[in-house]
Symmetry: C2
Subunit: 133 residues, 2 copies
Amino acid sequence: MRYSNATNYALHTMVHLMLKPGGSSVGVQELAEMQHLSPTYLSKVLTKLAKAGLIESTPGAKGGYKISRTKHEISFLDVIHAIEGETSLFDCSIHHEGCLIENVMRQAEENMKDELASKLLIDIAKEAESNQK
Amino acid sequence: MRYSNATNYALHTMVHLMLKPGGSSVGVQELAEMQHLSPTYLSKVLTKLAKAGLIESTPGAKGGYKISRTKHEISFLDVIHAIEGETSLFDCSIHHEGCLIENVMRQAEENMKDELASKLLIDIAKEAESNQK
DNA sequence: ATATTAAAGACTCTTAATGTCTGTAATTTG
DNA sequence: CAAATTACAGACATTAAGAGTCTTTAATAT
């Protein structure tokens, strides 16, 4: 069981966009180059983020992607949900309801989610920025 | 990202073995029937549990599997590690060390593991037993 | 000896993720 | 208006992992 590569790319892209001064748009080419990916592939990841409302896209020349105006506080969990979906890590297909094992697994997953929901991308972005100086 | 079916089978099998009076051995046929699986498939799951030292196997007639004598307190995490391995859920293949994003993801995973390590199979087994009465 | 059982390995099938390629629509620039 | 740039959508191919089956071998009890 592993998080997808797409999730990793998405997280790094989001942090990068947050560090863009003035919230200016960045094209997929620049974003792809930074992570050594093909633009067409990263494009699919970015489309997912846009559909989730985490970023805004503007087509056409001088277009690109930028952090959504309406979403200033984006957590790790937001990004993960946008890419991986919101299905549970564990499903007991044996018992139909109230499986005790499933209950434990779900609770553990909640603990992980709580942590991911409490971590905001902006904090990581600022930390990365100050480290670079 | 999802936990494998094998992990689900393993957890249910372990609970079942814990409820066996006197810690007597159970053959793979009975265990497979209970979960509607083929014995050959479940056998591979059981072999993993045995190699991890969680259960003991005795070949030959009247053989089978039983909870390991030396391991009375088996946690959910023990079983998961036996089946899924101990690799991290998240690996940042972009940065080589000290990736801030990876740090967050690892911490969240730790929170989940802490919960899974604190839950013992024997407690679930006893709860299931009392529910049945 | 024979029946029973675990163990190991080769093998197939399915599914999901990864990634590429092509074409289309929208927007800016000249 | 024309051309260049860019996001978007969908079809397609490739790869990797999981799920599951089958066959053979080794060990144990009766």
